[in-house]
Amino acid sequence: MDAVTLLPTLATVNGTSVHTLPEDLYIPPDALEVLLDTFEGPLDLLLYLIRRQNMDIINIPIAQITQQYIAYIQLMGILNLDMAAEYLLMAALLAEIKSRMLLPRQVEDDIEEDPRATLIRRLQEYEAIKNAAEQIDALPRMERELFSTLVDVSALSVTQPLPELPLHDLLLAFKSVLKRVDQHSHHQITKEPLSVRERMSYILDNLKAVDSCTFPQLFSRQEGRAGVVVTFLAILELGKERLIEIIQAEPYSELRVKAA
């Protein structure tokens, strides 16, 4: 009680300053220091008052608890603690219950719910949740009591799937190239059959491995006339683009082809 008695005025009750605590007002000194911070709201404060005095929620002595609650509220005011409006609302509710209980009972025709019953139910529910929250808080949890295992997987060779490329997308991309080229370009994309371009690549690729080859070696009898034509066009085109050299060492000697 030391902390309390240091205060000049504890509370003003009915216009009279109270300097000493009434006998029945139980305010533990440790509660004063952290008053509002400690309580999660008016229900929490009420529960605290009830539990500290080993009262039964079902049978809280409303008159007594109201008096204590209001004394607390006043104390908070004196200590200039920021008080949420909910605390004042509860004080009003308690005062109302107290006054209703003083009135003679209107038996049976009282269809309105007993305001005390509502309060008691709220207190019970809040207490149940408060206890559950404490129990959840005490459960072993990740990062505090529980630690996941970390097993390295960097040694594993994981192949990433390669992007898919639908042919249609490829062609659309090329279409936009053609459009750009048409719009402003000196560059001509000629309309050779693709078989010729394919054959050009084929010939060049084969010439890569050898120094040179004879002209007839580039042709394949099995391909027939069409094949010969394609190869011939490819050779001409390669020559025109200076990708190959066609050499004849001396007149009438064998034609040889080599990569440029």
Partner: protein, 193 residues
């Protein structure tokens, strides 16, 4: 290769809880074992690790290997950062959502008797412990909140049923008075509530 070993390798490599179904999906399409085979493997692995300091634990989103709680004292020292602490207000809000879901912010405020700060709801959403599961059909259409699998995972639970049981709300005697001694032993089946 032995299914059990593959399942064990998958559980260790996954770094997140894996359900039987998810484990099955990791197998190449034509080699997927039956779910019952995977369950059998999981049981065998769980037994194998009994004598070791880690355990295969079932949580809401699946199975995960974790260090047994009795070693947390040592293991916690590996991490310089202190584990996050949560305020009473946050834990009470979380408890209300867990036990009373689906609830609106208004419902939470009714039960706690004080307003709930947006930052608490925000923190719970960010941690993915709660999520919006709908809107209540009342004016303003407030969000209804519920808990997530990640919430259960974090608190080492596999279902909401494993939460601590909530104290039962005692039914009230109709004729309560301000006189506790007179009421203490009266039984009255007609109750208001």
């Amino acid at each position: 290769m032995d299914i059990k070993h593959i399942v064990e390798a998958i559980l260790f490599a996954a770094h997140r809880p894996m359900s039987c179904k998810q484990i099955q999906q990791v197998f190449p399409e034509l080699e997927q074992p039956e779910l019952t085979d995977i369950e059998t493997a999981i049981e065998a692995i769980t037994d194998d690790y009994q004598p070791r300091p880690i355990e295969l634990k079932r949580v809401a989103s699946g199975y995960r290997f974790q260090v047994k709680v009795e070693y947390s004292h040592w293991v916690a020292r590996l991490f310089e950062e202190k584990p996050p602490k949560y305020s009473r207000a946050l834990m009470e809000t979380l408890a209300i959502i867990a036990y009373r879901q689906p609830v609106t912010r208004g419902d939470i405020e009714d039960i706690r008797g004080v307003s709930v700060s947006s930052s608490i709801i925000q923190t719970l959403l960010e941690r993915e412990w709660i999520k919006v599961i709908g809107q209540k059909a009342v004016p303003g259409r407030p969000s209804l909140y519920g808990t997530t699998k990640q919430f259960l995972d974090y608190f080492n639970l596999s279902t909401l049923n494993e939460l601590p049981t909530l104290a039962e709300i005692q039914q009230l005697d109709e004729s309560i008075t301000d006189n506790p001694t007179a009421q203490a032993h009266r039984e009255n089946p007609e109750t208001t509530a």
